[in-house]
């Protein structure tokens, strides 16, 4: 594989490609490093190889930290596990028009097997876990990850333990339990769940906690979103990307994906301006960014955007760094704006997203209104999850007609002249 080692982002110490996530010297996070130089020799051939690869994230296997994708990489037989990725990039002209923007594209990652981008990260973590000999998968989740881990466990025939806050949306709990996982509802918020799982991962050494001890591999899966965006735009970067921030992992890895391919010369264009989206009720990264701090002070989440309700974001400092470096920013929107964001996206694109997508759409609207987006910009809105998982957010936001099944009743109530 092209991955060579794990490197500490804080002190630069190197480690072998094992199940470890923390630098033993300074507690800094470990990140996968690669040697891609050999791919530079024939970039047209590399592009062709990617394009003729499977219709899922394994078409980018050269850039992922696994020895090999699950199963042979042909179109017919690469479906071991759950085939994540290759989701639509939809040109959203009506949304652009509504916001007074030139060009907006929606990357609809609700079109994944369990309806969120988490299928990407779990696919990579699960494959690496198998390579490293783990017999059990586990995770700390705000809901979408729970769905993805439980489902991949079912697809692969691997035991799973899924830890969630006990007050999660019912849809997310049901869409996890159905796969036959060991579902553990923890009385506390996500940060409590995460603390418990961090402790458990130290004590259960045969368990692969996808977002704890396997986190460096897991996080790399998010890069496939930017690979796809660049490939779908004809091997170039967009001018701006708007994406949600919970832990900050997705947001920072989107940039890593673009940076890797830019460095290789595989795509043209600058690093996009990266705009992060948080909910006001859980906005530790947006607050730190606005205050000019380089670390985040944790908060107690209180927002309808439960999939973004991480009060103690692991990659917060790196998210702030990226917002500055890329010329983007980090904003927070209220719960009412999130509900309006869900409606705005639904009404203008036909895409129904969950509260995280409402947060991201509302942030795009805010940037547009503030005049932060240039007249000639191509913007990509990253929609990470499905509206059917957070139905309460749209309850009572529209009117409907209830009538007797007669022509007269319809005409009287709805009043459309023929």
């Amino acid at each position: 594989m092209a991955a060579t080692q794990l490197t500490c982002r804080e002190c630069g110490a190197d480690y072998p490609l094992e199940a470890r996530y923390v630098c033993h010297r300074c507690f800094g996070p470990l990140e996968v490093h690669y040697q891609h130089g050999h791919l530079k020799a024939d970039l047209p051939e590399l592009r062709r190889r990617i394009q003729s690869g499977p219709q899922n994230i394994w078409r980018y296997a050269d850039f992922l930290p696994v020895q090999a994708p699950p199963g042979p990489s042909t179109r017919a037989t690469s479906r071991a596990g759950l085939p994540a990725g290759c989701t639509p990039l939809v040109k959203a002209d009506r949304l652009a028009e509504r916001l007074g923007l030139r060009e907006v594209w929606v990357k609809n990652d609700a079109a994944n097997p369990t309806h969120s981008f988490k299928d990407r990260v779990v696919a990579v973590a699960a494959q690496r876990a198998r390579e490293l000999g783990f017999d059990t998968l586990a995770c700390a989740s705000t809901g979408n990850l729970a769905n993805a881990v439980a489902a991949v466990g079912a697809a692969l025939g691997v035991e799973t333990y899924v830890f969630i806050p006990s007050d999660l949306e019912e849809q997310k709990i049901l869409a996890t339990g159905v796969y036959g996982t060991n579902l553990v509802k923890v009385k506390g918020n996500y940060d409590d769940v995460n603390r418990l799982c961090t402790e458990l991962s130290g004590e259960h050494e045969s368990w692969a906690f996808v977002n704890v001890n396997l986190r460096p591999y897991y996080a790399e899966g998010s890069k496939t979103l930017s690979y796809e965006i660049a490939e779908q735009l004809g091997w170039q970067t967009p001018d701006r990307v708007v994406a949600p921030i919970a832990s900050g992992s997705l947001y920072t890895k989107l940039a890593k994906g673009f940076d890797e391919w830019r460095a290789l010369g595989l795509i043209s264009g600058d690093l996009p301006a990266m705009n992060g989206a948080q909910a006001v009720g859980c906005s530790p990264v947006a607050q730190a960014y606005e205050a000019g701090h380089d670390v985040c002070r944790p908060v107690k989440p209180d927002t309808i955007a439960k999939s973004l309700a991480i009060g103690n974001p692991a990659d917060g400092p790196y998210a702030i760094e990226l917002a500055k470096r890329s010329g983007g920013g980090i904003d927070a929107v209220t719960d009412d704006e999130i509900r309006e964001g869900i409606r705005l996206l639904a009404e203008t694109t036909g895409i129904f997203t969950e509260t995280a997508g409402g947060t991201t759409t509302a942030t795009l609207a805010k940037l547009a209104e503030r005049g932060d987006i240039g007249a000639d910009e191509r913007v990509v809105l990253v929609i990470t999850g499905e509206g059917l998982k957070t139905l309460d957010a749209v309850r009572g936001t529209f009117e409907s007609y209830e009538i007797a099944p007669t022509y007269e009743a319809f005409e009287a109530a709805v009043g459309v002249s023929a």
Binding site: F27, D191, E203, V212, N312, A314
Partner: protein
Amino acid sequence: MAKVKLPTQLRDAAGGSSAVDAGGSTVGEVLEALYEQHAELRERLSDGDGGLRRFVNVYVGGEDIRFGDGLDTAVSEGDEVQILPAVAGG
């Protein structure tokens, strides 16, 4: 005395122990007492400027000390002080 719970990543610097008893009335004092018993832990956890490294989380009774008074957070007899890496989750 407080009971300081150590994550697996730190146990090699504490003779393999998963928990160490240390005295003090604040988190800062408890950590000082811990460092006196296991000097290497100071280098691993402290930023060298009186604070903690930025990817170290400390909890007293399950609550992040940043919701309290940071290193000045009070510690009572028998409290559990837990040290964990901050980079998990998400």
